[in-house]
Amino acid sequence: MMYIGIDAGASATKAVVVNNEGEILSYVIVPSGINFKVSSEEALSKALQKSGLGSEDVLYTVSTGYGRALVNAKSTSSEVTCISRGIHKLFPFVRTIIDVGGQDSKAIRIDENGRVLDFVMNDKCAAGTGRFLEVMSNILVKPIDDLSKLHFKSSKPVKMSSTCTVFAESEVISHISEGSAIEDVIAGLHEAIAERVHSMSSRIGFEKDIAFTGGVAKNRGFVDALSKKIGLTPTLPGEPQIVCAFGAALAAMKKYEVTVSRP
């Protein structure tokens, strides 16, 4: 018997399968593309396949993320709740979570029971999200996975004056044409996005311990830049990108229990 959480995010769709104990049996990450229905079906069937179980064993499914309403699931839950559940299960000592995804960044404060006390999300702007880095990696013709490696080679990060994705694009081009090393530009971009996320998160404070989640937390360069700004060492899940889907699976387990306990 198992439960599934699907996080249909702006950039990637994640599916996580958990057992009765809330332990992860399998997970997958697929690109969201332009059709959440298609990507969520794909994520779901691949995750089931990996778990070795069949769809008849699934007791409850919860979807979350931008495409949550388009996913074939029993109910939906917001990312803020799902991320909090996921992190609380993994690291019960965490009180502050900073999640940076494809289109959103958020900071969440939770209590000792994993309950959300407060949260803050980015304004209507792509700066400070994964999209910013995606755009920049395209201009620099460097795969997004290389950004981390190059970051740590930088000795003199450039100072980006604009965090607007559109303006930063031309700024990157002029830095490169003026002869800045690519690694310095990349480190500068990480600084810029970290600064943005840091100022947004400051409103709810940084109560210890802090954890970073979301796809962008896989980028060690960004993690390095943000940790330095905050002045704390974050707890990092093994796969930061699936925490939200994991929380959705835990929510599915809880919702199933509520359903069956009712006569």
Partner: protein, 403 residues
């Protein structure tokens, strides 16, 4: 089925607002045809005084809101932007300027006089000066100093505004040969006060659980208090509305069936996105208090008409010191049993948005009331990210549900 349900969430009285608005504009054209002067005014400019002078007041801000609600604003925005007005300017001003630049063939008759008071908004004076530049119409600019303490509503600050009201009367007399009829002014002030009294009484009924008047109603029902103050129609509308809401309250009938969360909304409404109110209501959340809807009511004393009107010009919500505003905020939390606050950071209205964090922090620290702050524009749908906002609303309501 769902449209039936949605309809039932709007009060009978509220449904009459659309007609009232069209009638209001049609009467403006009638006035124009009869040779009466039409004034374009900014809101919280003394409508009562203009009415007593037999000048017909129209508020382009209201026009902007209405165009946005009816999906007509975009053409006007683009008209203004084509001429070089920046998208970063207030959307009401872009709509009004676009209307002028596109030939004024719609609902608003061209003005004979432009009247504004600098009492809340930084854009007013420059916007009205731009209108004068395009139209060549005479302009009156009044100055209402910022109200730092409630004493300012009685001291030399008040005298200063009264003086300017007298200057406005002089200007109307000189330009149009009109005479101010004091008896008429007293009658108009009485009617204006009556409509305000009725609206305040109506709003108080939202303290009932379940709440008998929702966000969709309050956003529309203010119209008679924006430009129709001092008319019988405004009083009649608010009498009927009060009766309807009273009846609902007595029957313990709410706007939504299963009222789970009672919310405060801070800001001007997003006129093109009324469905957002429905989105909240579908999830058991209802708006029970908005500083914006309350702001339109102001009690006047007919025995001192000019002082009263001057006080109203001064006491316009955004012209009040932030401490005075917060005080009212905090009272409302208790009065209306509010579970959470939704703050709309409006790209067009910096005077409204700038102090929001101060109020929000006070709310959460003093009352432990959680809040949601989101960004959009009041009239320009191009600044609105629906999925992103709904995403935040879902998370916010889940947080409220867990408390």
């Amino acid at each position: 089925m769902s449209s039936q349900r949605e309809r039932s969430r709007v009060l009978q009285s509220t449904r009459k607002i659309g007609e009232l608005i069209l009638e209001y504009f049609s009467k403006a054209w009638d006035a124009k045809a009869q040779g009466k002067p039409v004034a374009w005014i900014t809101v919280f400019t003394p409508v009562e005084l203009l009415r007593a002078l037999d000048i017909y007041p129209i508020a382009p801000e209201h026009f902007g809101a209405m165009c946005s609600a009816r999906g007509l604003a975009l053409d006007y925005f683009q008209e203004a932007e084509k001429k070089g007005y920046s998208q970063n300017l207030c959307s009401y001003s872009r709509c009004g300027l676009g209307y002028v630049l596109s030939g004024m063939s719609g609902l608003m008759p061209p003005p004979d006089i432009l009247v504004t008071f600098r009492n809340s908004c930084d854009v007013y004076v420059k916007w009205w000066q731009s209108l004068r530049m395009h139209l060549g119409t005479p302009l009156f600019v009044g100055e209402a100093p910022y109200v730092l303490t409630s004493d300012d509503l009685d001291n030399y600050v008040l005298d200063y505004v009264v003086k300017q009201l007298e200057q406005l009367v002089n200007m109307a007399e000189e330009k149009f040969g009109l005479k101010l009829d004091m008896d008429k002014l007293v009658e108009i002030v009485k009617l204006s006060d009556k409509a305000s009294e009725l609206w305040l009484e109506t709003l108080k009924l939202r303290r009932f659980k379940p709440c008998p008047l929702g966000g969709r109603d309050s956003a529309s029902d203010i119209f008679p208090l924006v430009v129709m103050q001092g008319t019988d129609e405004a009083v009649k509308f608010h009498e009927e509305l009060l009766n309807e809401v009273k009846e609902k309250a007595n029957k313990r009938e709410g706007i939504i069936e299963n009222e789970k969360f009672r919310l405060l909304f801070d800001g001007i409404w997003l006129w093109y996105a009324f469905d957002l109110i429905k989105y909240f209501e579908d999830r058991g959340a209802i708006f029970v208090y908005e500083p914006y809807s309350e702001a339109w009511a102001y009690r006047l004393d007919a025995s001192k008409p000019l002082e009263s009107i001057a006080r109203k010009v001064l006491a316009m919500g955004l012209n009040l010191d932030i401490d005075l505003r917060i005080e009212r905020f905090l009272e409302s939390i208790k009065e209306y049993q509010i579970d959470g606050a939704v703050l709309f950071s409006n790209r067009s209205c910096k005077s409204w948005s700038a102090p929001q964090l101060v109020t929000a922090d006070t709310l959460s620290k003093e009352f432990n009331v959680p809040y949601l702050l989101f960004e959009a524009d009041m009239a320009d749908p191009r600044q609105y990210a629906e999925a992103q906002i709904k995403n935040r609303i879902d998370a916010f309501l889940e947080v409220l549900g867990e408390r």
